[in-house]
């Protein structure tokens, strides 16, 4: 009923068309086009989900072959990046791109077996990714409308750059959808490189010294991954295997596949900013926040782990899988440790993102259905919560002019609504019964057989609790007798995405059983026959563990309502000042105490950042070395 053409058109082509239309800076047209494109892409993804799994081979008529078109566009893109490398005099970019051109040419012109399936393909996992990209992406684009207006007002730009910005944002939406729908590996590679290019353009959007440097760093690191990708394609073709994702995974090919798999995993590692490539993502935080929210937390970096998770069944029962799991777990603990030492809010979110992606990769490496379920669910719930948190931090930064979490102390008195939504976002990131925690529970139970992996996951998880709890706590700092709480005015373009995402992250966590049976279980069933999580007794269970989702949810909601009622019973007349040995004073709005010589000493507090022990400067190099070491062992284990 919903023909694949319609879905492909809405999901892939509509945003690309929209991207072209927003390029000229006609404000009214721009807003309308963004609105229409986001509605179209959301509608497309919902229709796709309703329609169910499908396959499609695009037929562009007798004159045009879609494969030739993709190949031509691919080379054009690579030449464009080559040109950028020359112009910026960045030899790393030039060399990596040139190598990619050479190897891609070899792959394209090498004869290979015909494909077994269609170029575009969607099963429940792809449909879920489609929904994630489209829905979250649309909300972030809406948020970006208001954000960029303020951003440019703040920068005092005479000539608006929003056309260029939204061109890349919408282009990215279409291309990312294409990526998750691709079965043909060459198409996947093409979409992969376009997302790299969009990321490069968006990171460097503000065109400052730092932005240009960080965008080039992101570019060469992702190009390294692209090179690995092309080499993998080369080896697949050289072994006479069709360049198709589903064929690679579903049909047994033996040990010859391990080397290309390792190269594909390396590509995924760079895309998902795993150690030692994490610097491009933390450097990408210099971009405007919608970029961080869209590309660098919910969608683009998910492309890497999506690809690795797709390939996971192909390295069942191999030592290679264990090394991948070790690598993912190490990234998780390393970045969680680094996040603890950060005061920059966006960097904390970036490190947390990399950590969660590491956990997904750890799940991909462990060969159990529980691990696969954990990985897929984690992609979904992490995207929801992290996109929300980035948008909140963006709003907060625009209001208070700082990203430092120490400056966010007592934010509740300045921006109550945003604070509440931010705290909800944080709670959904690391507490039960929400989805991210459920996935973490699944992951730990799945990884239990490998002591080293589980130790790293447990330690990393403890670190994450610390930095989320203290951030949420300091946001809520307030006393009863604040001055008339400032009315917070939120533009509809900001409040709508924030509220919808907050509601979605809570509601999807509640509906996780439905999500699991509809989207995850069918995929897992394809590759495993026992040990799969079953639904029952109000939750998910298998032989080794059970999580009672509905009972925990209900009891906690009831408890929350009870707690809110109990707390609301306190009236202002029961107010008491904080205890400061009897010498507390209040000067204006600030709290403090009566200090030496009767002077007023304002209250100040700080967190334990442990920078001398786990700061970036102290352990950054060590972490990179260990990461490179594990990758080398991984690669060596292939031979």
């Amino acid at each position: 009923m919903f023909t694949p053409v319609l879905i492909m058109g809405l999901c892939i082509l509509a945003p690309i068309l929209g991207a072209l239309l927003v390029l000229p800076n006609i404000r009214m047209l721009q807003k309308a086009v963004i609105l229409v494109s986001t509605v179209a892409v959301t509608a497309g993804s919902i229709l796709a989900y309703v329609g169910g799994p499908m396959q499609y081979e695009p037929d562009l008529g007798p004159l045009l072959n879609s494969h030739y078109l993709v190949a031509v566009l691919d080379f054009l893109l690579l030449f464009l990046i080559l040109y950028i490398g020359f112009k910026r005099k960045n030899h790393l970019i030039t060399v990596l791109t040139a190598l990619q051109v050479v190897f891609l040419a070899v792959v394209e012109f090498m004869p290979g077996p015909a494909a077994h399936g269609n170029a575009l393909f969607a099963d429940q996992f792809s449909l879920m990714m489609l929904l994630i990209v489209s829905v979250i992406g649309s909300l972030i684009c809406l948020y970006a409308v208001e954000y960029m207006r303020r951003h440019e007002q703040h920068l005092g730009l005479e000539k608006s750059a929003q056309g260029r910005f939204f061109f890349y944002m919408l282009l990215f939406l279409g291309v990312m959808n294409g990526l998750v729908l691709s079965n043909n590996l060459l198409w996947l590679y093409f979409f992969w490189e376009v997302t790299t290019f969009c990321s490069f353009a968006l990171i460097g959007h503000d065109n400052t010294e730092k932005a240009r440097a960080n965008s080039e760093k992101a570019l060469w690191m992702n190009l390294l991954g692209g090179l690995a990708f092309v080499l993998g394609l080369l080896f697949v073709r050289a072994n006479d295997i069709p360049l198709e994702l589903m064929t690679l995974v579903r049909e047994p090919h033996g040990a010859v596949l391990l080397l290309p798999l390792a190269l594909f995993c390396l590509a995924g590692f760079t895309k998902s900013a795993q150690v030692p490539f994490q610097n491009w993502l933390t450097g990408a935080m210099v971009a405007p926040t919608p970029v961080s929210a869209l590309l660098h937390s919910s969608t683009m970096v998910n492309a890497g782990v999506y690809f690795i998770l797709r390939l996971a069944p192909a390295f069942q029962d191999t030592l290679f899988g264990s090394y991948v799991a070790l690598f993912g777990a190490f990234t998780f603990i390393a970045t969680s440790t680094l996040a603890l030492s950060q005061t920059n809010g966006k960097k904390i979110l970036a490190y947390s993102t990399i950590g969660n992606l590491g956990m997904i990769i750890a799940c991909a490496g462990i060969d159990t259905p529980a691990a696969m379920s954990a990985g897929i669910l984690l992609i979904l719930f992490h995207a929801l919560s992290k996109g929300l948190l980035f948008m909140c931090v963006g709003s907060i930064e625009q209001k208070i002019g700082s990203r430092n979490i120490e400056d966010m102390r007592g934010l509740f008195s300045i921006m109550p609504k945003t604070t509440i939504i931010t705290v909800i976002g944080m709670i959904t990131m690391f507490l039960p019964p929400f989805g991210v925690l459920l996935s973490k529970w699944m992951a730990i139970e799945a990884c239990s057989k490998q002591p080293l992996v589980v130790v790293m996951l447990a330690l990393g998880s403890a670190f994450t609790v610390v930095f989320w709890a203290r951030w949420a706590g300091l946001l809520l700092s307030s006393t009863f007798r604040e001055e008339e709480r400032k009315k917070e005015i939120l533009s509809r373009f900001v409040s709508f995405p924030l509220t919808v995402l907050a509601a979605l992250s809570v509601i999807m966590s509640f509906l996780v059983i439905g999500v699991y049976t509809q989207m995850v279980q069918p995929i897992v069933r394809m590759y495993y026959s026992e040990g799969i999580y079953l639904t029952g007794s109000g939750g998910l269970f298998n032989e080794i563990g059970a999580f009672a989702i509905y009972p925990v949810f209900f009891i906690l909601v009831a408890g929350l309502i009870y707690a809110i009622r109990a707390a609301s019973r306190i009236r202002e007349r029961s107010y008491s000042a904080p205890y400061m040995s009897g010498i507390q004073l209040k000067e204006g709005e600030k709290f403090g105490f009566n200090g030496p010589l009767g002077g007023f000493v304002p209250f100040a507090a700080g967190n334990y950042y442990l920078r001398d022990y786990i700061g970036e400067e102290r352990i950054g190099t060590g972490i990179n070395i260990v990461g490179i070491g594990i990758i080398i062992i991984l690669m060596a284990g292939v031979f």
Partner: protein
């Protein structure tokens, strides 16, 4: 309901948490107060705990005279104690200013600043006297309403509140 109330009242007597505040004392009374906590006197068997902040305390045990510097601190601490609460003044300095009564910086006894329920005389009072004073205050505590409004006719309160008004010269015991 009454059963529960009697439970709560009984608990107030059985679990008095005291906050010891030194208002400028010479520390003689303070040493005697801390001696009460040692195994020889062991007031913990009455459930008495020496807590650190007024928010946890029922009983404010004050030593030393009030002067201009620590008057706001004393009031502050008294205010931060939730009802029901009682104040026990330990030692002659706290009761009426003691030997420092006429100093230029001294305001006088504690009852010039906060309402005092029990006066424990002595310089310093023996630990037994302090324990006696606290125990006498417990029944006053149990009669106070949790909402902080003391009963109108408070026999014990009337007797102790007028202590400094009854005696002309505290040291000789000369009555007015």
């Amino acid at each position: 309901m009454n059963f529960l109330k009697s439970f709560v009242t009984k608990s107030r007597i059985k679990s008095p948490w005291l906050l010891h505040f030194d208002c400028g004392s010479c520390n003689g009374c303070d040493i005697e107060v801390l001696a009460c906590l040692t195994p020889i006197y062991d007031v913990e068997r009455f459930g008495i705990i020496n807590v650190g902040n007024p928010k946890h305390a029922d009983l404010l045990l004050v030593t030393g005279t009030v002067n201009y510097r620590n008057r706001p601190v004393l009031e502050n601490i008294y205010e931060q104690m939730p009802h029901p609460k009682i104040v026990v003044s330990v030692g002659s300095c706290g009761n009426s200013g003691g030997i420092f009564r006429d100093a230029y910086n001294v305001i006088g006894g504690i009852d010039k600043v906060i309402p005092v329920d029990i006066y424990v005389p002595g310089c310093p009072p023996k630990p037994e006297a302090i324990i006696d004073g606290v125990v006498a205050g417990l029944s006053a505590l149990s009669e106070k309403d949790g909402r902080g409004v003391p009963p109108v006719a408070d026999e014990l309160g009337k007797m102790s509140a007028s202590y400094s008004e009854r005696y002309e010269n505290f040291n000789t015991g000369e009555e007015k």
